[in-house]
Symmetry: C2
Subunit: 160 residues, 2 copies
């Protein structure tokens, strides 16, 4: 196995650890609990679940993999703060299903990427910027998204 | 730049992003606030700061870089839960200083590691395990420690 492939394996493993932690968390947390604020005045579990689905989904277009599944989530779950109930968020049953769909779709896409593609530039980066800093590749975005999941998992843990 | 070096740059960049976020957080958070629980009944900022110093410090021995600086923190900040005041934790002034020392020391050590060393096995791994899974290298531990910082930064953010 060469260094590129080892690196991709490491990054995928780190990603899958966070996804598994989120899955375990969702399994043992009922809807009533998930709808609560993780701390007084902070985001609800509902919002953070939608937020993670939306943010992870952006990798589909950023990596040029195809059409995004959840771009309609951006307005509610990325651009807007938590509306905290009394709003038109999808139900938690539906968000739980979307979380699964999102991970299945991302897994499928990720498995199609070659090592060179993982190390290649993403769509929002100019050729000039890329020439200056080849470490800003798809894998680097992927590692940031992994850390982003971890950040919010630290908050969701308070619902336990 | 080859794939190994690009990867190490990416991982160091991801690490430095979390360290910078922690530095900014510490700069704008006074001791009174930092001593509070991040959410009702949860860890204090004091404990989480000590915990991050201790956990990051474990890389020094795990990577065979030298003597740890903060192994005396393990009992209070890794093995024990938060004692929440009325205890013998170091002062926040001292913990803030230790956080800086920890990062300076880790930076120095990291800069001595060659690409092959980053991709080499860490000290707590047997040769057999290593042969089976070369993705479990120093860099992989380093990426997990990066995600770990992000996890607790998500919680510390509630003190703002």
């Amino acid at each position: 196995m060469n260094a590129q492939q080892i690196t991709i394996d490491m990054a995928l493993k780190a990603w899958n650890i966070q996804v598994s932690r989120m899955n375990s968390f969702l399994e043992k947390t009922d809807d009533t609990t998930l709808a609560k604020e993780v701390a007084p005045g902070r985001n609800t579990g509902t919002y953070l679940l939608g937020h993670l689905i939306a943010v992870n989904d952006t990798m589909i277009s950023l990596f040029g993999l195809g059409e995004r599944l959840f771009s309609h989530f951006d307005e509610d779950f990325i651009k807007s703060p938590d509306k905290k109930g009394g709003n038109s968020y999808p139900t938690l049953g539906s968000l739980r299903e979307n979380w699964k769909q999102s991970n299945e779709q991302l897994d499928r896409y990720f498995s199609t990427l070659s090592a060179d593609e993982w190390f290649g530039k993403h769509t929002s980066m100019s050729d000039d910027d890329w020439a200056k800093d080849p470490a800003r590749n798809k894998l680097s975005v992927f590692m940031n998204r992994t850390a982003h999941m971890s950040y919010h998992l630290g908050q969701l843990a308070f619902l336990k």
